[in-house]
């Protein structure tokens, strides 16, 4: 270890840095807001194809919850939600892209963890989905709880916190298990469907969609346990506090909009006639909140107008109006017993 931390060890890292950053490093910038405005386009890293979050529609355009988060930022900064360029990224690529500064924001389904947040040259912004890991099994297995899975085999996908979570859970409960970890979720799902494993494991908001994709969805059930806490948060590069504030407060505005009943449909009416000072400040009719973060006074208005409030986004892509039809779980406002809360616009 000492050798690896020596000069030569560091030089090796540098060579890797050269390989991965290369000339791109020169493009790493200090003033992201000015650069985005100048370029007139927002670069977003998104998950490579998860229905509901980021998936090509029939016209081949990427749509979904994560894409809308990106569109909201573009609307706030550039005044046009369509001025985005999405790039599909797996985790190692996304982390390198953040470091190299080739993307402005990553709205991927990445869990916020200590090791990822600290010393990696990136910042998590705010939790946009509270998820947790769960299990799917065949009903014929006769299992009612994850506690009965001692000795079972699990299919899952690599590239996530999944493996460590399952391992921790089983160790905690003194149980043994085997796992087959695939390079992608699709293969893991197919292998489980082919009965290679007793159980399939991923985040619960993914399990529902995966169950529908099985050969015979009715043969499967999702166990009640949630074995982990998966706060999913978009990321920005470390060190540009102005840019981070813009991203965080755009997301806050989407949540606050739901709290105050602002929707994409009534946002114009609210702007002209709302009496609530919070609504007035969000929509820029009073105060100079936009100017304080370097944006126009319509920043939040534009974002809400383009993608709707948090609830609208959820129902459109993940909830009732989507094929996934997922309940919101903990992702409801704190006023309704959920975990979503926006710091006050004051």
């Amino acid at each position: 270890m000492r050798f690896l931390n020596s000069k030569i060890g560091r030089l090796t890292v540098m060579s890797a840095a050269i390989a991965s950053l290369g000339i791109m490093a020169t493009a790493a910038k200090a003033d992201r807001l000015a650069d985005v405005k100048k370029a007139g386009i927002l670069h977003c890293g998104v998950v490579p194809g998860v229905p509901g979050y980021a998936f090509p529609n029939k016209a081949g355009k990427m749509v979904g919850f994560d894409v809308d988060l990106c569109r909201a930022i573009a609307a706030a900064v550039l005044g046009d939600a369509d001025k985005i360029k999405t790039t599909k990224m797996k985790l190692p690529v996304a982390f390198n892209a953040m470091k190299a500064g080739t993307v402005d924001v990553v709205t991927h389904r990445f869990t916020w963890t200590f090791a990822r947040d600290v010393g990696q040259g990136l910042d998590f912004t705010r939790v946009m989905v509270f998820d947790g890991q769960g299990f799917m099994v065949r009903k014929s297995l006769g299992v009612k709880s994850a506690k009965e899975l001692d000795g079972a085999t699990f299919c899952m996908s690599a590239g996530a916190t999944t493996q460590g979570n399952v391992s921790d859970y089983f160790r905690k409960n003194g149980m043994k298990f085997k796992q087959v970890t695939f390079g992608s979720m699709g293969e893991a799902q197919k292998a489980y469907d082919a009965k290679r494993c007793d159980a399939f494991c991923t985040d619960k908001f993914g399990l529902g969609a995966r169950r529908l994709a099985m050969t015979n969805p009715d043969e499967h059930m999702i166990l009640p346990e949630t074995i982990s806490n998966e706060p999913i948060s978009p990321m920005v590069g470390h060190g540009d506090q102005v840019w981070k504030d813009i991203v965080v407060w755009t997301f806050n505005a989407l949540i606050a909009a739901e709290e105050f009943g602002i929707t994409s449909k009534n946002v114009d009416k609210m702007r002209s006639s709302a009496k609530n000072p919070f609504v007035q400040r969000i929509l820029g009719t009073t105060g100079k909140f936009g100017a304080k973060i370097g944006l126009g006074k319509d920043w939040a208005y534009n974002a809400i107008k383009a993608v709707g409030n948090y609830g609208e986004m959820w129902e459109k892509h993940l909830g009732k109006d989507s094929r996934l039809n997922m309940p919101r779980g903990k992702n409801v406002l704190h006023t309704k017993g959920g975990l979503l809360i926006s710091p006050p616009f004051r």
């Binding site: 890797a16 950053l21 298990f177 292998a191």
Partner: protein, 387 residues
């Protein structure tokens, strides 16, 4: 001025200037990139270093050739999966070479059916992407293997089902080391016999069946010792637990599919290399061997193959290297190889992407250089002895 020009026109001066100029440019370029990288990394507050290697990995790895549990460290996880990659490469290289040899023989055969089969095999397997073939073998295997409740039993000690081939695990008891010694001694004696037989044949022309004798010795002597010691081994037989067979050891379908896919794909290339090598040997050599009474077998083993080898070694080294590197596809069908651990398991947990990429590069470079070195040694041994 005139002097300077003529000095410049001197070939050695010019080439030296260009060469050193290039070296200076490259070094300056590297410093420039190094400077940018360090500046940017400092600005982003990146913490580089390899301290994380001794942290607990937290995820299980199956199969593991050496002792490993989720409590092991990242560096142990890397070693276990690197061994998996090496093990898989080794098995696939051996099998692909054997199968490739047969494909070459088929293609050179005078039998029309065999020749057509050889041609067809090569065209099908080398023209379909390896990743597709791996998916095909894996999911085909899953479709064909029996379900757990209807496992196929082999004499109630080994069982085959969709989760793998479960076989008894030998557990060594006291005295087992004598058996190991017997293997070693038998191998030594065989080597001595082989050397002696070679020497005798060179002097007298009398052949001696040293290979058969050696093989017999290596098998029988340890068996005899084991019998005398009343077989110092017990077997842990797999038993059906709550979900599946437990105990013993298992050959999992992911590994089997990888071996199948890599072998079949690479055998097509290896077959072509061997065929080309054999055809590169002049026809006259074969006829000459026949005219002094060599059998067909002797002609091939003593005359054709040794000469063909010199042609075969360089391209087959490339093929072995390509095979070893293509094991990195294993993660796609769930086999825990080195790349799977680095890119799929450790990077997402630690986020230390750059350090991991450096280690990954070094790992594959090491494997490739090792294979290239072995092949170079072999090449050196089989070259034409020059006087």
């Amino acid at each position: 001025m005139e002097n300077l020009l003529s000095f410049w026109r001197k070939g050695s001066v010019r080439s030296l200037t260009y060469q050193w100029g290039l070296v200076v440019v490259i070094i300056c370029g590297m410093f420039w990139v190094y400077d940018i990288a360090t500046t940017n990394m400092a600005r982003l507050g990146l913490k580089t270093g390899f301290d994380f290697l001794t942290d607990e990995a937290g995820f299980p790895i199956s199969p593991a050739l050496i002792d490993y549990s989720p409590r092991s460290t990242y560096i142990e996880a890397m070693i276990v999966t690197l061994l998996n990659t090496i093990f898989l490469s080794l098995i696939a290289i051996i099998l692909a070479t054997i199968l490739g040899f047969f494909i070459a023989m088929f293609k050179l055969s005078s039998n029309l059916l065999l020749r057509k089969f050889g041609n067809g095999y090569v065209e099908v397997f080398r023209n379909v992407p390896l990743l597709l073939q791996l998916f095909f073998w894996y999911f085909a295997a899953l479709k064909m293997l029996p379900m757990k409740r209807s496992s196929i039993s082999f004499f109630d000690v080994a069982f085959l089902n969709i989760e793998g081939f479960f076989i008894p695990l030998p557990i060594l008891e006291g005295g087992a080391e004598f058996v190991a010694w017997a293997v070693l001694i038998a191998t030594l004696i065989s080597a001595i016999i082989w050397a002696w037989a070679k020497h005798r044949q060179k002097n007298t022309g009398q052949p001696f069946p040293s290979l058969i004798l050696g093989a017999g010795l290596i098998i029988l002597l340890p068996l005899l010792v084991a019998w005398v010691l009343d077989f110092p081994v017990t077997w842990e037989v797999p038993k059906f637990g709550r979900f599946n067979f437990e105990g013993g050891t298992a050959l999992e379908p992911e590994f089997t599919a990888m071996v199948f896919g890599l072998t079949l794909y690479n055998a097509a290339f290896v077959g072509e290399i061997i065929r080309a090598g054999i055809q590169s040997v002049d026809k006259g050599q074969k006829e000459a061997a026949g005219s002094i009474g060599f059998t067909n077998m002797q002609t091939y083993s003593q005359v054709i193959v040794p000469q063909a080898m010199r042609f075969i070694i360089p391209p087959i080294t490339n093929q072995y290297l390509s095979l070893a590197k293509s094991t990195a596809l294993a993660g796609a069908i769930g086999y825990a190889d080195f790349f799977w651990a680095m890119d799929g398991a450790i990077a997402p947990q630690t986020g230390q992407v750059m350090e991991l990429q450096a280690i990954t590069l070094a790992g594959y470079l090491g494997i490739s250089l090792f294979i290239a070195m072995l092949m170079a040694i072999y090449n050196h041994m089989t070259r034409i002895p020059e006087r």
